[in-house]
Symmetry: C2
Subunit: 526 residues, 2 copies
């Protein structure tokens, strides 16, 4: 059994505090910089690499981070997790999202069921269903094929699947794997559902209702909205809807759905892209074999995360450098900057995954911690970000660590040469230029044109964004966040911070309010 | 002439440092909280209100903020700006975006031209052009109407216009003002243009090339991309493209375009939504009279910003409270959280507007400042955010000030009643619940379920998101950022921080690199 201790009670915490900082602009210059780029790199799955040359670390600090990984028992805790320990202590739950894509350790038997078999069986059921939709065996009342799939879900039932769909849409269209267009309805704002319903052909649309508990207010409300619209068109909602939920939810085994697919309480919403939550929509949009490749990539990356050597474990070293930046260097945020338009909503997914997992002030035992935990995560694709908030990143008064992602090749394989280079080369020239600009800066007599440098970044470099490499990228960040939670001694798998707002919103709707809340409700005529 | 002084040299800076902090959870409870909601509100244009009841201020602090506004000569500087002073000193330029939507002071004559007349004339030319496109007088080679407009631009030529288009799409569709679908190509990533071109009907698409200088790498590259695609379809690019640029740019008066519309150097990219940069695409998408309403709303809000009394000047008080939070309370970021799906990309636009304007470490005279300036800006629409990063906002170790926006009515006027309330009521119940949850928190014996509260927020409350109220909302934030720049003694209107990356990217493409940059370029096979 692993020992769960607060970060600041570890010996390596003190040692990290006492060790000398790296002057990034110096070490990234000249031949030393070139050597760092070559050496400070960890292989990932699918031929990707995590390069941390431009992070404020050196061999001494890396040695201490290895000590920290060992002392915090990061790998031991990971082993316990994938072997089925109750890691989500607050909710008394196992944490099994890695098991949706591979078997890392022993069989996990819970509630009398072999969980790997359960997840595989649901994948197979989804695959069969998707194939039947694609072949037309399952069709609308008029016997016509469905052309559009609409996911109704919020939070983890929306952000991850939506980001993954957008990430693979171009690849699928280029590789003849595009089966159905996907749309997403998430917000309880009626304008969200209205806008989507205006865009689609209802008679040929299949809706996926996604809610683990079957009680999510926004999702059930949007279900009513959609059912209403279907009925108004003379369509039978039960012939246009499937559900992804837990077997114990009110949505399971209901006549309201063509079919229901199951997940369970051991898959947190923000970790559910590789479960049926992502599986149904992605299998319908791109075919089950594309979803299977995505899972394979994630499984390969999960396996790398078992390595005790931080130089061979990209998620672990990424996590530890992040902790070092947060707790020793005092940086409160991280920007995620993919140089790939297909990853346009990937930062929004990471924002949930990271901030909802580690945005906590008490440790696993419910005691306040005395150190900062999860950072703010935000980001937009480069080069768009360059023409937006990079001004502050380069010359603002605060330092913001950066996480770049880039690929050698585009997805659509469609490009144009202008001024002697393709767009893809221009894109990549920009990302490498930014890394060095942030690290090294530039002196100038005009201080307004001076760049201090010393702004750290890492980059994940891949050949191409494919289903498999996307799976690996996703798993990398999931495991990074998990390892950071281990070091900070948090339960990264609950989210009690979302409860109070829900409770108060119900009171407002029931007119059970006083004080400020009643006054605000009055302004809104609620 | 106004005096430009560093913030920390002002008397009010010292006084604000010395004054006692407000305990938000206390003052927002009970009848005191109710009183604050009623009193701490400033009217905006279009019937909106800026409510700051849940900010960490009281009458004493507000008095000092008024002193600060006076001492920093915020209104005097605004007057100089709209009367045509060279406020953008680094680039030796006037700052005239307010003049695109109204005349606040004296005539501004620059380069021998009455600038208000120049902007009005371009608006009229755009309106005439848009009307001819809508009537079919201007059509494609086959004499058929254009159905789609595609903006090619990046940064300010993309984020603002895109956010405004999305903000009004639902309103236009509901109010019979929807003329043409708009798409946007921004990223130099070839997959961005490929994805958009795959979606549209080229033969019926009109492209707007937007670049003030006419030299923006990404935009010119994407122009080549689009011209290539048009030619491959046997279409004449010159019959499918217009330009929005400055009169001195290489794009002006070129045969490559059906028509060119002009802006000038006095409109910064991030402030250009009310110039031709937003005007062309919005007039084509929704009609010139919708764009005119949008300008009217902005003009009304600009007029409010002239008020010296901070209790009657919503942008100014918002700005000052933000400065207080940044410099006295030490909060490094702000989340923008619109409870309106139509504002889905409004936070991304504010991110540029704010971070590119005030993300600076030197004052207007090129001297380093000793205080933090522009914060990190990020955000997503509520209720989506609630199911994402709100966990950290409620229970994380750092405090993040929040800026909510909400409307009493939806845009599509299409709603459903479930469990006794409409979706719109549920949406609004959530935003008011969040304000109080963040401010007041909740005690709990289980510390994992405890909420400390004391997390400040403000809210802008409107009747409905319309062209006019959107204009007012936009101008509010533009003026807020301007006032903060005045207090911090920054030049908020240049962006030298974007230059170094551009220079290095060119070197990479020219293979003129060594050290780390050469190694990274090698990895990417550039």
């Amino acid at each position: 059994m692993a020992n769960w201790k607060n970060f600041d009670s570890l010996n390596s915490y003190k040692k990290l505090q006492d060790c000398e900082c790296v002057e990034l602009s110096k070490v990234m210059s000249g031949s030393e910089g070139a050597e760092r780029v070559k050496n400070y790199s960890v292989p990932m799955a699918c031929g990707m690499n995590y390069n941390f040359a431009a992070k404020e670390v050196n061999d001494e600090i890396l040695g201490l981070l290895q000590e920290l990984a060992d002392e915090a028992e990061c790998i031991g805790k990971y082993e316990e997790l994938y072997n089925g320990a109750v890691i989500n202590t607050g909710e008394n739950r196992l944490v099994l999202h890695q098991l949706t894509r591979g078997q890392l350790g022993n069989d996990v038997i819970a509630d009398g069921v072999n969980k790997r078999e359960f997840y595989l069986n649901e994948q197979k059921r989804i695959a069969d269903f998707a194939n039947k939709v694609h072949s037309g065996e399952i069709s609308n009342a008029a016997g016509e094929k469905f052309t559009t799939v609409v996911q109704i879900g919020i939070g983890g039932s929306d952000l991850g699947p939506r980001a993954m769909y957008l990430a693979l849409e171009g690849w699928a269209k280029t590789n003849n794997k595009f089966k159905m267009e996907a749309q997403f309805i998430s917000n309880v704002d009626p304008d969200d559902a209205s806008a989507v319903l205006k865009k689609i052909d209802l008679a040929h649309s299949l809706f996926i209702l996604v809610s683990k508990s079957g009680t999510t207010l926004e999702t059930l409300t949007n279900q009513s909205f959609v059912m209403d619209a279907l009925k108004k068109e003379g369509l039978d909602p039960a012939k246009h809807m499937i559900a992804v939920t837990s077997e114990t939810s009110p949505l399971a085994k209901s006549d309201d759905y063509l079919e229901a697919f199951y997940m369970d309480d051991y898959i947190g919403g923000r970790y559910s892209s590789t479960s049926g939550v992502g599986g149904a929509v992605l299998s319908l949009a791109f075919g089950p074999e594309v979803f299977a490749e995505f899972l394979d990539g994630a499984a390969d990356e999960d396996a790398l995360a078992k390595n005790k050597d931080i130089r061979k474990n990209p998620a672990l070293i990424d996590a530890l450098i992040g902790v070092y930046e947060r707790n020793m260097l005092g940086y409160p945020s991280t920007a995620v900057l993919p140089y790939s338009q297909a990853l346009s909503r990937f930062p929004a997914h990471l924002q949930q995954m990271d901030m909802e997992s580690n945005g906590k002030s008490v440790n696993r035992f419910g005691e306040a911690v005395a150190y900062p935990t999860g950072p703010i995560i935000f980001g937009e694709p480069g080069t768009n970000g360059q023409h937006s908030f990079y001004q502050l990143l380069h010359q603002g008064t605060d330092i913001i660590p950066l996480q770049f992602v880039g690929y050698k090749n585009s997805q659509y394989e469609n490009d144009v040469v202008s001024e002697g280079s393709t767009s893809q080369k221009k894109l990549n020239a920009n990302v490498v230029a930014q890394i060095v600009a942030f690290a090294c800066g530039k002196k100038d007599e005009n201080k307004n044109k001076e760049f201090d440098g010393n702004r750290p970044s890492s980059i994940i470099i891949g050949e191409k964004l494919t289903p498999k490499s996307l799976g690996a990228l996703l798993a990398h960040f999931e495991n990074k966040v998990m390892f950071q939670g281990f070091v900070w001694n948090l339960n990264s798998f609950d989210q009690e911070g979302v409860q109070l707002g829900k409770v108060l919103a119900k009171k407002v709707l029931a007119h059970e309010t006083d004080g400020a809340l009643a006054e605000f409700a009055k302004i809104f005529d609620i």
